[in-house]
């Protein structure tokens, strides 16, 4: 599958990635936030990293806002404090905006949206060196045949970034245990979009890694 990716053979080596990582997953009930959390937590555990994730169950699953906290390494505190998260994975634009205050300076947000963020928000994030990566993941997923895999598309998209703790290869391994080809295609399609976007933004990302 990686052979299809333009310009690169595979994701960067796992060892280059942070071993302590605080990630928020935000979405709406029904968007597969819990599945995404379990995919990432399972991947971290498979990499031999200690992981603790906080899920939402019950009433708020019925169409309400859903927020999951995922921590690799660190203490066994289940929640991430505002201003300290390394990344935000948002399956919905409004939920992304709502949860931006969780990010620390220099963090990254991966957002499922066909639009960009409001100008003043984008400016505020830039001034805090927070990277924003938007992808119409639902659209990508629907082209694959089902909007339900938009969560995995977004994860594939995020995983090509070296600051994202979970490498594509390991995510692929976790997903193949679930045995659904569609999820693997979704991961690859998201990654392809990620590489494409990263390619077009190469000067910026070089600047970021040099800082």
């Amino acid at each position: 599958m990686s052979g299809r990716l333009p310009g690169r053979e595979s994701a960067p080596e796992p060892s280059h990635r942070p071993l302590e990582f605080k990630l928020l997953l935000a979405g709406v009930g029904g968007q597969g936030v819990v599945f995404a959390t379990r995919l990432l937590a399972g991947t971290a555990a498979g990499m031999g990293l200690p992981v603790l994730a906080s899920e939402t169950h019950g009433m708020s699953q019925r169409g309400g806002s859903v927020l999951a906290h995922l921590k690799v390494g660190g203490t066994a505190a289940p929640l991430i404090r505002r201003g300290t998260a390394d990344a935000l994975l948002a399956f919905d634009r409004d939920e992304a905006l709502r949860n931006l205050p969780f990010l620390r300076a220099g963090a990254a947000a991966y957002i499922n949206t066909p639009d960009s963020l409001p100008v003043e928000v984008a400016q505020a994030l830039r001034s805090r060196s927070i990277e924003v990566h938007c992808l119409p993941a639902t659209q990508v997923a629907m082209e694959l045949g089902s909007s339900t895999v938009s969560n995995v598309v977004l994860i594939g998209f995020a995983a090509v970034h070296p600051s994202f703790t979970f490498p594509l290869e390991n995510l692929r391994e976790t997903l193949s245990r679930y045995g659904r080809g569609l999820n693997l295609r979704a991961l690859a399609a998201g990654a392809e979009e990620g590489f494409r976007a990263a390619g077009s933004l190469l000067p910026a990302s070089k600047r970021a890694s040099g800082a």
């Binding site: 709406v28 937590a41 971290a44 169950h57 203490t75 929640l79 931006l100 505020a124």
Partner: protein
């Protein structure tokens, strides 16, 4: 050994099965529901002989498990914290009688609250009932504590509480697990021995048992003084400010101290009741101020004898309501430190960014009934039939969300829809008011606590319509079978599915009709006749059973017969359907001029056709038939 990802509730379940628990019972309730499901999973995985049941309510669950303990088997009962209220009668009594086999009471508390009607602290119930408590801080520790709690329960012959909270129950943690679960543990005794002094103790004997119980608590406290579940983090710190923390708040404090960059001594309490007071006093001796962090209320704090140096909920330093979030803990610690003259850089919230996000006025996303939910159809019919003048007592379950549709006016606790309807009728009758009273309750909740109030209402001659929303499962908590289901907790066939209509008739209700709320016309017709029964001279309570499976639990009826709909071009965007029907799949177009169907959410139930009184929502098939060739 392998590392597995376990939910806190699964870690507890694994601890139970590994620890030789033979009988596990529960009534589902968030955040506790995965405990019993986990017991079933691990007993199968490890090939252990365990009887697991979803009981009809928590009191039943408690007593079934207690009886097993009296025969000598290890047993456990799980519930959410308000379920402990239902089971509090046997809890208090069994503390006096004592137990034989290790007996664990596992109520899951819900600081927040996220999915509950209260933020009550089960540890305070245990304090009142005189039952020792273990308070785990992580899934891994919870699993470990199960064995410790079983051992203490058997050693003292008393029920023991293991009290997790939401953030632990629903935390997923990587935990090392032995594939075979370790050696199976034989029960210490497997036979019920008659023991009238304990098992049938009369009031006179109960006083003696009370004395025995007090002695057991003293022994528990002694055991806790020496327990490695209570320990000091940063013991070498010379700071004059310290922290006493238990449960999840311990790890939140640990993280906050790292973030604040200060090393305070932290006494981690794993056994908050009875509090190991000598240990606590020794810890406090060298300190000027001690901040107590625990959830959801003050249990440790209340038991500290010398309170002059204690800061916590009782003096208002720690917020009296809501979860101890990382933000709250950081703020509390920073404030206590600053008052002690130690300045820390509070890693601050970013006020400018928070204000900017607030200025966007993002729509609050409240929970809503799922697309295709039969409760929505039932509520929509109720409202159109009885209007805003009627009073709609509701109950606990997914259908509590009927309040969004203004078809639920009250909810108090399990079963209260029926007794509140009864009380509203009696109160109205006194003052000569005769408003329609239309109560709703789910199938599982009806079986849990709806039957005694129904008997009461029949006997006293109350007049109201009770709609039993029978979706064939306990939907809110993850589809646990009710007593009306064909299956048991482990998936085996039930001996007999209890018939809800038969039960209602047996309560003496004169009007009982089973009908499908998806058929709006005939459902409303049945509601009209039910109401007429409540008004007839010889009438009384009328029960309508709205019979339609939960669409998540059993989507097959809709899959067999899908009804795709279209919103026609005539739609004028009046929003009636959005507000009165509130299906997540009906959305306002971006320019607000009309309503569209969100095809990613729509399950093609066709129920919204009735939601547009102007007739602009139509079955797709009809539109295409009518279109000119």
């Amino acid at each position: 050994m392998s590392v597995e990802l376990l939910l806190g509730n699964e870690a507890i379940a694994l601890g139970l099965v590994e620890g030789g628990c033979r009988v596990a019972t529960a009534y589902p309730g968030t955040p506790s529901s995965e405990i019993l499901a986990g017991v079933v999973k691990y007993k199968n995985q490890l090939g252990r002989s365990v009887y697991a049941e979803w009981s009809t309510n928590e009191k039943v669950a408690f007593e079934v498990a207690l009886a097993a303990s009296w025969t000598g088997l290890r047993a456990a009962v799980a519930m959410k914290q308000v379920g402990l209220n239902v089971a509090s009668d046997p809890l208090f009594s069994s503390a006096y009688t004592g137990v034989v086999g290790g007996f664990l009471v596992i109520p899951a508390d819900d600081p927040g609250p996220h999915s509950s009607q209260t933020e009550q602290d089960s540890r305070l119930v245990a304090l009142s009932a005189k039952v020792p408590v273990f308070d785990p801080s992580s899934p891994e520790e919870a699993r470990l504590m199960v064995e410790r709690a079983f051992a203490l329960s058997e050693e003292l012959g008393t029920p023991v509480m293991l009290r997790p909270t939401t953030r632990l129950c629903h935390a997923l943690q990587s935990i090392p697990v032995a594939e075979d679960g370790g050696p199976d543990r034989p029960a210490r005794q497997t036979r019920f021995h008659k023991d009238p002094v304990h098992w049938t103790a009369t009031p006179k004997l109960r006083q003696r048992l009370h004395g025995e119980l007090n002695e057991k608590l003293q022994r528990a406290e002694q055991a806790f003084e020496a327990s490695d579940l209570n320990f000091v983090l940063n013991a070498e710190s010379k700071t004059r400010v310290g922290v006493i923390a238990s449960g999840v708040a311990y790890h939140t404090a640990e993280q906050a101290l790292l973030e604040l960059g200060v090393e305070l001594p932290v006494l981690k309490i794993g056994t908050p009741y009875p509090l190991p007071r000598k240990l606590v006093q020794a810890f406090m001796n060298d300190l000027e101020v001690v901040v107590v962090l625990e959830e959801p209320d003050a249990c440790i704090e209340l038991q500290i004898p010398d309170r002059r140096r204690v800061r916590g909920r009782l003096d208002g330093l720690v917020p009296g309501a809501g979860e101890l979030s990382p933000e709250a803990v950081c703020a509390v610690l920073a404030q206590a430190l600053s008052q002690a003259g130690i300045q820390v850089q509070t890693p601050p919230d970013d006020p400018a960014l928070l204000a900017l996000i607030a200025s966007l006025e993002l729509p609050a996303r409240r929970p809503r009934l799922c697309p295709g939910c039969s409760h929505r159809s039932a509520f929509f019919a109720l409202k159109r039939e009885f209007g805003p003048r009627a009073i709609y007592p509701g109950d606990i379950g997914c259908y509590t969300l009927g309040t969004n549709l203004r078809a639920v006016d009250t909810f108090v606790d399990m079963g209260a829809a029926v007794s509140m309807a009864d009380g509203l009728y009696q109160a109205g009758r006194l003052v000569g008011e005769n408003r329609p009273i239309i109560a709703s309750i789910g199938d599982s909740t009806f079986l849990h606590a709806g039957i005694p109030p129904l008997i009461n209402a029949v006997h006293t001659g109350s007049r109201f319509v009770l709609v039993i929303l029978d979706n064939h499962t306990t939907a809110m908590t993850g589809f646990q079978p009710t007593a009306a289901a064909e299956v048991l907790a482990d998936g085996s066939a039930a001996k007999r599915a209890v018939s809800i209509p038969d039960l209602v008739r047996a309560c003496g209700v004169g009007f009982v009709q089973v009908t499908d709320p998806y058929d709006q016309q005939s459902f409303r017709e049945v509601l009209r006749r039910a109401y007429a029964h409540t008004q007839a001279a010889e009438g009384g309570v009328a029960v309508v059973i709205a019979d339609r499976p939960c669409v998540l639990y059993d989507p097959s009826p809709i899959q067999r017969d899908p009804i795709p709909v279209v919103v026609t071009n005539e739609c004028d965007g009046c929003r009636y359907c959005l507000e009165a029907f509130e299906c997540p799949a009906l959305v306002l177009s971006p320019d607000g001029s009309r309503v569209d169907v969100d095809r990613t959410l729509c399950i093609e139930c066709g129920q919204c056709i009735d939601a547009c009184y102007k007739g602009f929502i139509l079955p797709e098939a009809m539109v295409y038939q009518d279109a000119p060739a």
